[in-house]
Symmetry: C2
Subunit: 419 residues, 2 copies
Amino acid sequence: MASSPIWASRPKTRGLVLDLIRAARSISRVELAAATGLTGATISAVVRELMGDGLVVEAGRGGPTGGKPRTMVQLNPLARYSVGVQLERNTCVIVVVDLAGRQVARTSFQGVASMPPERALPLVASQVDALLATAAVDRERVLGVGLVSYGPQDRRAGVLLTPQPTDAWLDYPVARLLAETLGLPVLLDNDAAAAAIGEYWMGAVDPRSTYGCIYMATGIGGGVVVAGEVYRGSSSNSVEIGHISMDINGDECSCGNVGCLENYAGPSAIVRQAMATPGLAQRLALDSTAADLLTEFARIAAAANAGDTGARGLVEQSARHLGGAAVTMACLFDVDTIVLAGPSFAVAGSIYQTLIQQEVDRRLFARRAHPVRIVPSVNGSDAAAIGGAILVLQSELTLRHPRTDDGARPVPAGTAEIH
Amino acid sequence: MASSPIWASRPKTRGLVLDLIRAARSISRVELAAATGLTGATISAVVRELMGDGLVVEAGRGGPTGGKPRTMVQLNPLARYSVGVQLERNTCVIVVVDLAGRQVARTSFQGVASMPPERALPLVASQVDALLATAAVDRERVLGVGLVSYGPQDRRAGVLLTPQPTDAWLDYPVARLLAETLGLPVLLDNDAAAAAIGEYWMGAVDPRSTYGCIYMATGIGGGVVVAGEVYRGSSSNSVEIGHISMDINGDECSCGNVGCLENYAGPSAIVRQAMATPGLAQRLALDSTAADLLTEFARIAAAANAGDTGARGLVEQSARHLGGAAVTMACLFDVDTIVLAGPSFAVAGSIYQTLIQQEVDRRLFARRAHPVRIVPSVNGSDAAAIGGAILVLQSELTLRHPRTDDGARPVPAGTAEIH
C-alpha cells in the first residue's frame, strides 16, 4: 500500500521533533529516534533541517552508554523570539520571550485599556517597539505577538465578543489593528488558556498530563491542556470557570447566569465585602475609589497572610469557593493537576493552594481513581502574558500542520487566524 | 526526507477510510480521496483490503457528474456485530448491533444488579448467549461486548471504583469475569460516555462537532465527544455532571461534595419530593416501597405531561436544575449541542428539552459566540447499551492504532484494556 505523501507528514514530524528537543533541553539523535519511533535517517534529516534554519544547535557530547559518545542537540534559544501582550482592565503587561519560553524583557503600564482601542492599540504597539529595542532583539527573529485578553472571543476574526475592558472593545478588530500597526503577525487568545499552556511549555507538567489552570486577575478564567494542546471546544470559548454557577439561589450576574463564581470568589467580591466589614476597611486603609482593584485586593491578601482575622476570613471564603469550582473542573475534565496562576494568587497563594487542595481532596467524586494536585504557576503573575508569547511559539513551530499525516482531519473549529 | 514507515500509518488510515464510508453510507473512491486528501492509489488499496476482510462491499454506481459513473462502496453491515450491556441498579439492558450500529436484538431484565457480581455476571452472560442465538448471529462475527455502568471506573483494570450497584461490585473484576464466562472480549466503560458516542456513530451530529450528552437513568451522568472521540481526561472519569455542586449551601452528598445536581434534579429527588407533596402521592398512586424507582418517576413525568400541576412543578424544577448544569457543561466544554439521553428523559422529554434550552439561551456566558442546541438522543432510553456496543465497534475498527502516524505520541492515559 502506498504511504502518505511526504509533504503531508513533514510539518507535523518537524514540530514533534522540535518539541521533544525543547522539552528535553539536550538530547541525542538516538534518543529522539527512540522517543518518536522514527528511523535514525528520518531523525537526522529533520535535525539537519532544523539546524539549517538555525533553530537547533549541536551542543557537546552525552556520556557514553556502552557505545560511542553521542552528539547532543539543543534549541538555539536566541534563534527566535515572540511577544506576549496581556490586556486587562487596569494593567497591560508585555513580555518578550526567547525560543525556550524564557522571558528576556518585560514592561507593564496602566490605563491603556480604559481608552478606546483605536487609541490604546497604537500605544501598545509603541511599547512593544520600545521593549524590543531595549532588549536588542532583532525584529526579523520575532515570530509574532500573542495578544491575550477576555473571553468570549472570535479568535478567527480576532475580535472580543464582550464589552470589556470597555464597551468600545466589543467586536473591534483588535488583532488586525495591532498587526497593521506593528507590522508583526498577531494571534488573539484567551488569557487563561494562555496561562495554562505556559505551564506545559516551561516543563512544569508531564507532557501526557491533562491539567487545568485557574487564572485570577480582576476576573476569574480557566484553561485545560490535554497532551500539550489547549482544549478548545467548538469555538475556543471553553473553561469559562468564572461564570459557572455556584449557587442556584444566587444573584444574577451581568453575564446572564446566576450565582457566578466570580461574584463569590473574585477580587471585586472580596474588596466589596471588606468595605462592608466594620473596621476592616479603615484598618487596611482600603480605598473604595481606587482605580486599581488589584492593589486593594493585594492589601487584603497581605493582611490575611499577616494574621488579620477579618481579612483572613474573606480570603479563606474566596479560597473555599474556588475549591468548589476546582472540584467541578476536576469532576468534568478529569484533570490530574490544577495550576493557580495570575496576579490575584500572588500575595496569598499559599492560603489558596492549601484550602483548594482540601476541598478537592474531600469533595471530588473520582478521588478513588487518582489524586488531583493543586500547584502554583511557574509563571506567576505574568502567566497570561508569557503564555500569550508561548502560544505564538507553539503555533508557529510545533503545531504548524496545514494537513495532518492522514492529510484528512478538518482543521478544528476555533483555530486562530494569524492576523 | 524519508517519510514515516508504512506500517505506522496504515491502521489509522484504514480506520479513517472505514469511518468515512460508514458516515457517508455510500461513497465513491474518488469522493474518499477528496475527503481524505489521500491519493487514488492509496484509497484503492485500502478499500481493496477492507473488501477482502468483508467489511465493505461495492454497491452500484453513483450518478455521472460529468465523467463516467463511479462505483460506490458501502459498509457490509452484517459483516460484524457487537454487544452492549448496560448494568444499572434496577435494570440490565442488552443489545446486539450490526456494523452500522443498528440494533438487531434487545432484551432487558430486572434484579440482576442486586446480586453479587459472581452470580450476576454468569446470568448476564447466559442472556447474551441466548440473545445471539435468537438473532441467529454467528459468534465468529461478534467483535466483543461493551459493558457500561457507573463511574468512577478503572477502565484498564476493568473494575468499578464505586460501591454501586451494591457494595459487592466495588473493585470486582467485572470485565475479566464476563469475558471469561462468555469467551468474548469485554470492554468496560462509563454508561454516559457510551450514550454520547452513540450519537456520533448514528450520524446524528456533525463529525467536527464538540457536543455533550446528559444521561439520566436513576443517576445523572455525562459525556463529551470531540471530533468523534470521547473526551477522556487523565483516567477516563470525566464529565461526572451528576456530582457537580449546584448549591454551595446544599446538603452533603454521599460522594463527599455538597449540593450535587443528582440530589436536586434526579429521579430519586423528584420521587422523594412527590412523596412529600400533600395529595400528589395519593393522586398518582406512588409507591414509596417500589423496587423500581424509574417506574415511580415515570408516573410523575406522565402526570406532568397530562397537566397535573403538582407533578409538572416538580418536573420543571428538575429541568431548570438540569438547565443550570447544561450551562456549566457548555461554559466549560464549549459544546455546540447537548443531547438528552436515557430512560428518565423518555416520558417528559419535551418539557426537559424546552426548559433546558431556555436556561442555556438565557444564562450561557459565550452565547454571543454560537448557539447551543438541546436535542433528544437518537437512541433514546437504550442509548447507553447501544453506545456500549458502538464503543466496541469504534475501538476495534476505527481507533485501532498501535502507533500514530508519527509513531510517537504515547497511548493516552485512560485507554481501556480489552479483557
